[in-house]
Amino acid sequence: MWNMPVDNINYAVAMILFCIGFYTLIMRSNLIKKIIGLMVMQVSVFFFLVSVGYLTGGAAPTIIPGVAPSPMVNPLPQAMILTAIVIAVSTTALFLSLALKFYSHYGTVDMDKVKEDKR
């Protein structure tokens, strides 16, 4: 069941984004850049989910009274993303506050610079 890449181009892009984020996360020693990589990962997953929910020629899943019901895109992934976005926002906020504290302790956000620290 190999599909032409053009069909699933969104999926492919999402996966590549995911890998880019992952690479940033592990390669950068700068904490802020790590967090950015993390956010790229999150966004790529959302992108993937939203593409999963897509329906060719589907309208937004909102019933407008008096308008004949047309095929609508899948609302469930959108609801999932709504939840996942909030989760991502909370995680990022917490992470940023940790980074802030880290900075105020060490005066830098570079993880490698403070490797050796035995209280």
Binding site: M1, A12, M15, C19, Y23, I26, G53, I63, A79, L96
Partner: protein
């Protein structure tokens, strides 16, 4: 060395994921499992079952309201976590609140803010109220509220904004959503349904729909208030940490 290893790891991951992508059903196809299995019921009966024209809101608040409760809990937990990391600000560090946040007291920004903020609030309330029937809802409205408060912070300075919305008030407000979910859910449980049931068999049929709408509104407002307040609190906490740092280091 580490570079190579990371590169290899990433490439392996990419290969795996792209391999899967090639096997996934074609995107947007009408007879994908995603479009065949559960969703049709949402789309067809969503309006009368869940009582929302906006199906997404119906899914978020009604079919999968439990997820949303967990999500609200995550927001509150994140705020609590930020307090846990940065401190709640009860501990005054010297004269911590010398105001360095943004443009302050400039005439233009103040006037603009005075003009904008009421509109923003009004709009956010509109978004919240009509969230069940049109695009929008608690999150969007709450975000708008948060944006309004941020504007006021920029315009009138950190201290003013914080005094308008002091810590304990925010502490009380940030629990609104969870409390709303708890009460609404318990109402369902008491009324003969399950937790988070809105169509109560114990009620007369003609007021059931009304009751459901009321419950949904309560939830929307709870979510909106919580989101707005938590955005504000996070902003304030981060600002305060910056102040503290400046005081400690810049002296």
């Amino acid at each position: 060395m580490k570079k190579i290893l990371a590169l290899l790891l990433t490439c392996a991951l990419a290969a795996l994921l792209l391999y899967v992508v090639a096997l996934l059903p074609p995107m947007g196809d009408a007879d994908n499992p995603t479009n065949r299995h559960v969703v049709p019921r949402y789309l067809e009966q969503g309006e009368e079952e869940a009582g929302t024209r906006n199906i997404v809101a119906g899914v978020v608040l009604n079919y999968r309201g439990y997820d949303t409760m967990g999500e609200m809990a995550i927001l509150s937990a994140a705020l609590a976590g930020i307090f846990a990391v940065l401190g709640t600000g009860r501990k005054k560090v010297g004269n911590a609140f010398i105001d360095r946040s943004g443009v302050q007291f400039s005439f233009i920004s103040r006037t603009a803010a005075v003009l904008l903020i009421p509109l923003i609030m009004l709009f956010s309330i509109y978004v919240i109220i009509y969230g069940t029937d049109s695009p929008g809802g608690g999150f969007q409205g709450g975000a708008a509220i948060g944006a309004g408060i941020m504007i006021s912070t920029v315009a009138f300075g950190f201290n003013t904004a914080q005094n308008r919305l002091p810590h304990h008030v925010r502490m009380i407000l940030e629990g609104t959503a969870i409390s709303a979910f708890f009460l609404v859910g318990s109402a369902g449980a008491v009324g003969g349904g399950n937790f988070l049931t809105y169509m109560l068999p114990s009620l007369a049929t003609q007021i059931q729909a009304t009751f459901r709408t009321a419950m949904l509104l309560v939830l929307e407002f709870g979510i909106g208030i919580t989101v707005g307040v938590i955005c504000t609190s996070i902003l304030f906490a981060l600002l305060r940490e910056e102040e503290t740092y400046n005081v400690e280091h810049a002296g």
